[in-house]
Structures are given as structure tokens and as C-alpha cells.
């Protein structure tokens, strides 16, 4: 159990040098464009872009290997469950039936269902590199600064930055407590019965939670004593100035989003691309 989160290593390339604000805006724009559209052509286009950006960012493949395995399992489960629960949803959406083969009377594999499910799969998969780029190339402290610049209340932004700051600490505390309890004979492995294991997990969580509550008091007092929250605004030490490349990138993100909306409303007339009605 290692904290791979924000395994942030500073690099000097185009993506790293963009400000956190830019990356947040682009991330939101591109994610939403894929979320909205059910046109596999456009989704593949965004997927291609995100792979290109991923190459540009210079993030190593081994940094994200574990994540990719999780994603693959998740997508596979979703794929199977969708077919299990509603094998005819594709036909409902596209309004036609092109049968490929028949398993039982309920489970008929149709082209429509296949297109619907493959589209859905690519939809989720295509934004994965984007999320990883954003997480791995953004300085955690700068992230809060960029949140507050997109209009998020600075107290909310500060809460996020506290989360990022204390998450690794908490993992360490959790491990310390877990090891301490295990050395006292608490078994967390599969050898123990489920009920006992649950109780043992609780025995680790309770000290962790209570020490967190103490820590909340401590940090609150420290911040209050330094006059936090006195003014309506605050500045951020790590905020980067926006440069030409930032404006250019944000424009690009907005264009991708606009393209998705245009595909849906102008070209296809709905969120779905329907190749079955010629």
C-alpha cells in the first residue's frame, strides 16, 4: 500500500509548464465533451488527443500501470453487467434491430447493443489518460490555487489543499497503527473469520479517526491564531502567471468541448450517432 497519489516529479516540458488553472480547465472541457457525446467517432478523436497529450507529458508508463489494471477490471464488469441487465437497451436507443446471433430468447446480441456498449467503453477509457496527466503533472499546492481562480470559494480550495497535504500523512499513520496492532496479535489476513476481521479493521480505524479529530483541533487553532479567514480574498504563493501557451491551451480545450456540442446538436441531432438509420 504505497501512496502513488501525486507522485509529483517536476519536469520541464510543455504540459508541466502550463499553469494548474489551464490544466484544470482543459481537463474539465475535454471530460465533459466525452461525457456528453455518444458519438464514437468524436470519442475516438478525443481519445487520440488524450494519448498524444499523455506522450507529450512524459509520464512514465509504470507510474500508471496499476491504475490501468483497475480501470480494465472495472470496465469489463460494467460491460458484462450492462448486457446482463439490459441486453436490448441498444435497440431501444437506436430504434432498429440488426441481429448477429442469439444466445437465448432474452439475450440476443445485436449490432445496436454492441455499438452502444463499445461506445460506452471507449467513453470511459478515453478520459483515463487525461485524469492521469492532470493528477501527475500538477503540483498539489498549485492545484488549490487554480481551484480558487476558477471561482471556487477560497476556503473550499484551502480545504482541498489540506486534503492533499494530509493524505500521505494519514496513509503513514494508518500503516503505523496497523503494524502496531498486528504486532499485538491482530490478524487482518484471510486466515481470520470475516466477523473478527471486520472488528480488527475497526480497531485500526478508531485510533486513526480519533487522532484525526485531535489534529483538526490543532490545525484549526493554528490557523485561527494566524488570522485565517479574516478577509474575503487571499493570494496564493504558488499561483503561476498565465502565459501565451496557457491561453492557447484553454482555447483548445474550449474548442474540443464546442466540437462535441456541435456534433451532438448540429450533425447528429441528438447525443447518439445513429449509423443504422441511413
Amino acid at each position: 500500500m504505497k501512496a502513488k497519489l501525486f507522485d509529483y516529479i517536476d519536469r520541464d516540458n510543455f504540459i508541466f509548464n502550463l499553469s494548474g488553472l489551464t490544466k484544470l480547465v482543459c481537463f474539465i472541457c475535454m471530460t465533459f465533451s466525452v461525457m456528453f457525446s455518444y458519438d464514437i467517432r468524436y470519442i475516438l478523436f478525443v481519445a487520440l488527443l488524450s494519448i498524444i497529450f499523455f506522450r507529450m507529458s512524459g509520464v512514465q508508463f509504470r507510474q500508471i500501470k496499476l491504475m490501468l489494471i483497475y480501470v480494465a477490471i472495472f470496465l469489463l464488469m460494467n460491460f458484462l453487467l450492462t448486457f446482463l441487465f439490459s441486453p436490448k437497451y441498444g435497440t431501444e436507443i437506436y430504434g432498429t434491430t440488426h441481429e448477429i446471433f442469439r444466445l437465448t430468447s432474452r439475450y440476443v446480441v445485436t449490432q445496436e447493443q454492441l455499438l452502444y456498449q463499445v461506445t460506452k467503453l471507449t467513453k470511459y477509457a478515453s478520459v483515463v489518460p487525461l485524469g492521469m496527466i492532470f493528477l501527475l503533472t500538477t503540483n498539489p499546492s498549485e492545484f488549490a490555487a487554480s481551484l480558487s481562480r476558477v471561482g471556487c470559494n477560497y476556503k473550499g480550495a484551502y480545504a482541498v489543499s489540506l486534503t492533499l497535504r494530509y493524505f500521505p500523512d494519514m496513509i503513514r499513520d494508518y500503516q503505523d497503527i496497523a503494524l502496531a496492532q498486528q504486532s499485538r496479535g491482530l490478524d487482518l489476513s484471510k486466515k481470520e473469520k470475516l466477523g473478527v476481521r471486520v472488528k480488527n479493521v475497526m480497531n485500526i480505524c478508531v485510533p486513526l479517526i480519533f487522532s484525526t479529530l485531535d489534529r483538526i483541533e490543532l490545525i484549526t487553532n493554528a490557523m485561527d491564531l494566524r488570522g485565517f479567514g479574516k478577509y474575503k480574498k487571499r493570494t496564493w504563493y504558488v499561483a503561476k502567471k498565465l502565459r501565451k501557451s496557457d491561453w492557447f491551451s484553454m482555447l483548445f480545450g474550449a474548442l474540443v468541448l464546442a466540437g462535441s456540442l456541435a456534433m451532438s446538436f448540429v450533425v447528429n441531432g441528438s447525443r447518439f450517432w445513429n449509423p443504422f438509420v441511413a
Binding site: M1, K4, L5, M35, Y38, I64, M67, L68, V71, F74, M77, L81, T82, F85, S86, I93, K120, Y124, V127, V128, P129, L130, G131, M132, L135, K155, G156, Y158, A159, V160, S161, L162, T163, L164, Y166, F167, D169, M170, I171, Y174, L194, V201, M202, C205, V206, L208, I209, F210, T212, L213, R215, I216, E217, I219, T220, M223, D224, G229, R271, F272
Partner: protein
């Protein structure tokens, strides 16, 4: 001291930040398998409900929102927005119980346990059976029969988590606080 429902003091802010970190940690690593594949009881919702009861709806809602978003992003690279919103909503609604409790003053009796559980069950039902599936259909165009089944399962398992873990934590926490007026002057 009078408790306001939507106050956002420094303490609420810090509780939000650290609570979200805790939520993320538990959400990723501490799950209780139920025996049914891909359905685990998330202990994180117990913590979410606990923090919501202690620090109010804003803290609760943000904790679940940030926590769920982060853990999804770390594990899967991108967040499943409809469920993230539903998570936030659960703890937000649970937080409405906050002005009615006096856990900090060491009071958490049977009637409080019932009150807390009524709020959290309503919150889970609204968020997971109503909001999450509807958002799934609107945002992701998922098939209704799948998402409503998932929603019901999620509502039950999260309500169990919030009910059992949340209540236990609140009872334990109330015992660590000294009661108001527990000291008496010796003659």
C-alpha cells in the same frame, strides 16, 4: 453555543480537509466484502456520516464529494461524476442532523442514535435510489434497469455502513467528551 446549519468556520474547513483525506483513504483501502462480487460495504460512508453529524452538512457534503472524487481519480484516472455527486449529497443530507446533536458535550443517547439513523437512511435512500440512477441516465445514458438495481444495492450497503460505523463512532466519541455540568462543587 448555538449551532447554525450552514456555518463555515475555520474548524469546519479543517474538518473538511482532513475528513476528506480520511474518506479517500478508507474508500480506497478499507472495504468489507459482503460475499456478493463487486459489492463491498464501504466503511468510508460511516466516516462521512460521522463527520457530517459532528461538523454539519457543508463539511459532510464536501468531505464525501472531495473524497470520492479523489479516490476515483487515483484508482481509475477519472471520476464517475454521478456517483460522486450522490456521495456528496448523502453526507450533505445526513448533516442536517448536526444542530440537533450535542455530541461534543458528551450527549449521545438512544433517542439521538435513532434520530441520526433516521436522517442517514433518508439521505441514503434519496441519494442512491433517486439521484444517482437519474444522473447516471442523464449524464452517461446508462440503462435504467441496471442503474436502479445498482442504486438499491448501494443504498442498502451504504446505509448499513453509516448506521453501524457512524453510530458506533458517535457513541465512542461522546464518551471521550466530558459532560456539561459534570463537575460539582464540594461542600
Amino acid at each position: 453555543m448555538e449551532k447554525k446549519l450552514f456555518e463555515f468556520k475555520t474548524k469546519t474547513l479543517v474538518a473538511t480537509g482532513l475528513g476528506a483525506a480520511l474518506f479517500t483513504l478508507l474508500f480506497m483501502y478499507v472495504k468489507i466484502p459482503t460475499g456478493i462480487p463487486e459489492t463491498e460495504i464501504q466503511t468510508a460512508y460511516g466516516i462521512g456520516a460521522f463527520f457530517a453529524a459532528l461538523f454539519g452538512p457543508i463539511a459532510g457534503g464536501l468531505i464525501a464529494l472531495i473524497g470520492h472524487f479523489l479516490s476515483d481519480s487515483i484508482q481509475y484516472g477519472s471520476a464517475w461524476m454521478s456517483w460522486v455527486i450522490a456521495s456528496g449529497l448523502t453526507c450533505f443530507i445526513t448533516g442536517f442532523v448536526y444542530p440537533k446533536l450535542k455530541v461534543e458535550e458528551g450527549e449521545f443517547g438512544k433517542s439521538d442514535i435513532i434520530r441520526f439513523n433516521v436522517y442517514q437512511i433518508i439521505a441514503n435512500a434519496v441519494a442512491w435510489i433517486l439521484v444517482a440512477p437519474v444522473l447516471d441516465i442523464v449524464i452517461y445514458a446508462e440503462s435504467p434497469s441496471l442503474v436502479f438495481t445498482q442504486g438499491v444495492v448501494a443504498a442498502i450497503s451504504n446505509a448499513v455502513s453509516a448506521g453501524v460505523i457512524g453510530s458506533i463512532l458517535l457513541v465512542l466519541y461522546s464518551k471521550t467528551r466530558s459532560k456539561k455540568g459534570s463537575l460539582s462543587k464540594e461542600a
